[in-house]
């Protein structure tokens, strides 16, 4: 895919057992090559540059995670949230008990290998943004789509409260129970699916870091179409073999057309033909109470900058405005700004990336109204005096979606 990181940039992640300081693993964003622990020193010393940011966090007095980033523009917020996601990923696949009560370091290291793929996806250039926003990446199904009803009926039939349809790591439709999953599992579960190689079906034991960190649930995934998976979070029932192809066909074959249409939506996030201003190159809409987001860099995809660059711009802009301008998000334990205002007051800010002469520099505008926060990336042609009204109109158009 030719992802370019910032010039010379890399992110290194190190996990240690807090009490003994024994390294449990080391991951790096450089080409996704896992770093062997005996080469630990060599790897870390290569990250010693002037621009290296280091953030560390200890979890339950048992696990310490350290991240070193030599990429430009990495804020502390970004790195702190990365560590929270990484620890969440470790709990998801190994369980909190194993991490807080380390009886056998070698066995724990072996078990943690199962989480490498997921952790590496946080260090790479993902199309998703839930790791940073801690809101679930969503896709809006075509209007009037019968998918939601079919999903609810399927959930009743299988007696499972937690069922969802996931397209390329984004939630397309879900039961109420699934939407009520806490952070970080609400973000981690679809993200996990997006990071795994395709399989027809899976039956994975998972621990929910917020809801059930020591007692595992079963995550069943069934590929309905390439790129579209049906997910169930359940106890001992139903067995995977009970969800056989004949049963699934009888439920989902009638919905083949809307399902196929939804697969194509994936990175676009919005229904096909949703009217967006032509200057919009990227969009991030967050609903901070529902903890869901829409993220797309597809509009006018043939124009500069590249999709990878657009994502990077929006991610950096999000980190900037979240940590410095907007009121702290509900439910997240972060620093409270002295000048924080009530969330009902609309707030907006914009940033031009590059010189401010007309026709140059990407425009980034952010607007918050109530629980919704909208960030837009706009082309250089977009006049700066019109940014706020453009953002306001776009937010009004998007508000019915969630």
């Amino acid at each position: 895919m030719g992802e370019e990181r910032g010039p010379g940039g890399a992110v290194h992640l190190l996990c240690l057992a807090a009490s003994s300081g024994v390294p449990l693993f080391c991951r790096s964003s450089r080409g996704g090559v896992p770093t062997r622990q005996q080469n630990l020193d060599v790897q870390l010393s290569s990250a010693r540059t002037e621009d290296t940011t280091v953030v560390w966090k200890s979890f339950h007095d048992s696990i310490t995670l350290i991240v070193l980033s030599s990429e430009g523009g990495h804020s502390e917020l970004k790195l702190e949230r990365l560590l929270q996601m990484v620890f969440g990923a470790m709990v998801l696949l190994v369980g909190l008990e194993e991490l807080t009560n380390i009886r056998n370091i070698e066995r724990l290291k072996k078990e943690l290998r199962a989480s490498y793929h997921l952790i590496d996806s946080f260090l790479g250039n993902s199309e998703l943004i839930g790791d940073l926003t801690q809101c679930v990446d969503c896709v809006i199904p075509p209007e009037g789509s019968p998918l939601q009803e079919a999903l609810s009926n399927f959930a009743k039939a299988t007696r499972t409260a937690f069922v969802s349809l996931v397209v390329s790591g984004r939630v397309l439709a879900a039961t109420e129970g699934w939407w009520r999953l806490g952070t970080p599992e609400a973000v981690l579960l679809p993200w996990l699916l997006g990071s795994l190689p395709p399989q027809t079906a899976r039956d994975y034991p998972v621990y929910l870091p917020h809801g059930s960190p020591t007692v595992p649930h079963r995550l069943l995934t069934l590929m309905l179409l390439p790129g579209l998976e049906l997910c169930l979070l359940c106890g001992p029932q139903p067995l995977l073999s009970q969800l056989d192809p004949q049963l699934l066909e009888s439920w989902w074959q009638p919905l083949l057309e809307p399902l196929r249409a939804s697969v194509l939506l994936g990175p676009g996030a919005l229904p096909a033909g949703f009217p967006l201003h032509e200057d919009i190159l990227g969009l991030l809409l967050l609903h901070l109470e529902l903890r869901r987001c829409l993220f797309t860099v597809e509009p006018s995809g043939d124009k500069e900058p590249s999709l990878v660059q657009r994502r990077r711009l929006l991610r950096s802009f999000y980190s900037l405005v979240t940590s410095t301008h907007f009121p702290p998000e509900p439910g997240l334990p972060e620093k409270v700004e002295d000048t924080a205002q009530k969330a009902q007051v609309p707030r907006a800010c914009y940033l031009v990336s590059g010189p401010e002469e007309p026709g140059t520099g990407w425009r980034l505008v952010a607007l918050q109204v109530g629980p919704r926060r909208l960030l837009l990336l706009l082309s250089p042609q977009s006049p700066t005096h019109g940014l706020r009204s453009l953002a306001t109109h776009t937010l009004q158009a998007l508000t019915p979606l969630f």
């Binding site: 199962a114 990071s195 395709p198 027809t200 899976r202 590929m223």
Partner: protein, 257 residues
């Protein structure tokens, strides 16, 4: 249980290399890459389930299935799919056309491979019964470079024979190409064959050839690598079905349909 059929007695061997065979294979490849079939799109004609058994994570079960399926959809972060230890049960569907000797009819087999990570099997009680339930065949994997995995086979075979006496059993030795490091000499294999009378196949573990782009696995080459395993599996399963349906006695001769 009836004696296993002699190789090539049920299905036309090397049929996949014939012009006719290649036409059928084309429908499971698209532009020389394996297609991914989802549940809803499966053209089901023959449904069988196989369970992969292997002592150690590193035996190569994941790679075996990956090779048979020849899936190479680049993840968002890596150009190559890297095998990883599985944390639970994973199933993969593989389609394989084969031509019957007796009737010259072509049957499309749909294999559902069930694979479970060893650490998950030991940690969670429900995994093993879930994998073994309704399985038509068990594939026992060992690695030529890991003696312990070979020595574990009798124990595994005995357990499965007790629990599922009617199922097809096949043994597959992986990493056969790493002959410099082999820990399992020929005479041990011969002794094993004589003791158990089970088909024993060998597979390489090198990544398959790639297409001109240097990244995508060559689907045709991958199929050629795995054809003997899939043919053998199809042959044994078809024979087993025939015996179970009372169409055959203990001899492997086919009756015309």
């Amino acid at each position: 249980m009836a004696k296993p059929p002699a190789p090539g007695s049920v299905l036309v061997p090397d049929w996949h290399e014939s012009a006719e065979g290649k036409e059928y294979l084309r429908c499971i490849l698209r532009k020389s890459r394996r297609r991914v079939f989802g549940e809803c799109l499966s053209p089901v004609t023959s449904v069988t389930c196989c369970s992969l058994q292997g002592a150690e994570e590193s035996v190569g079960k994941g790679s075996l299935v990956a090779k048979a399926h020849k899936l190479l959809l680049p993840s968002p972060h890596h150009a190559k799919w890297l095998p990883r230890p599985s944390t639970g049960i994973q199933t993969t569907v593989v389609f394989w056309p084969a031509k019957l000797q007796a009737s010259s009819r072509v049957v499309m087999f749909r294999f559902e491979f069930w694979d479970c990570g060893e650490s998950a099997l030991t940690k969670f009680d429900h995994m093993l019964p879930a994998c073994q339930e309704k399985a038509d065949a068990f594939l026992f994997l060992f690695s030529f470079t890991d003696r312990a995995s070979f020595e574990d086979l009798p124990g595994q075979l005995a357990r499965v024979t007790g629990e599922a006496p009617g199922a097809v059993k096949m043994v597959i030795g992986s990493k056969f190409d790493q002959y410099m490091h082999t820990d399992v000499p020929e005479q041990d294999l011969r002794a094993f064959r004589q003791a158990w009378e089970l088909p024993l196949l060998r597979v390489k573990s090198v990544p398959g050839r790639r297409l001109a782009d240097g990244r995508t696995l060559d689907g045709w080459a991958g199929l050629a690598d795995m054809a003997h395993v899939l043919n053998s599996l199809a042959e044994h399963l078809w024979h087993q079905d025939q015996v179970a349906a009372g169409l055959l006695a203990s001899s492997p001769e086919n009756t015309p349909d």
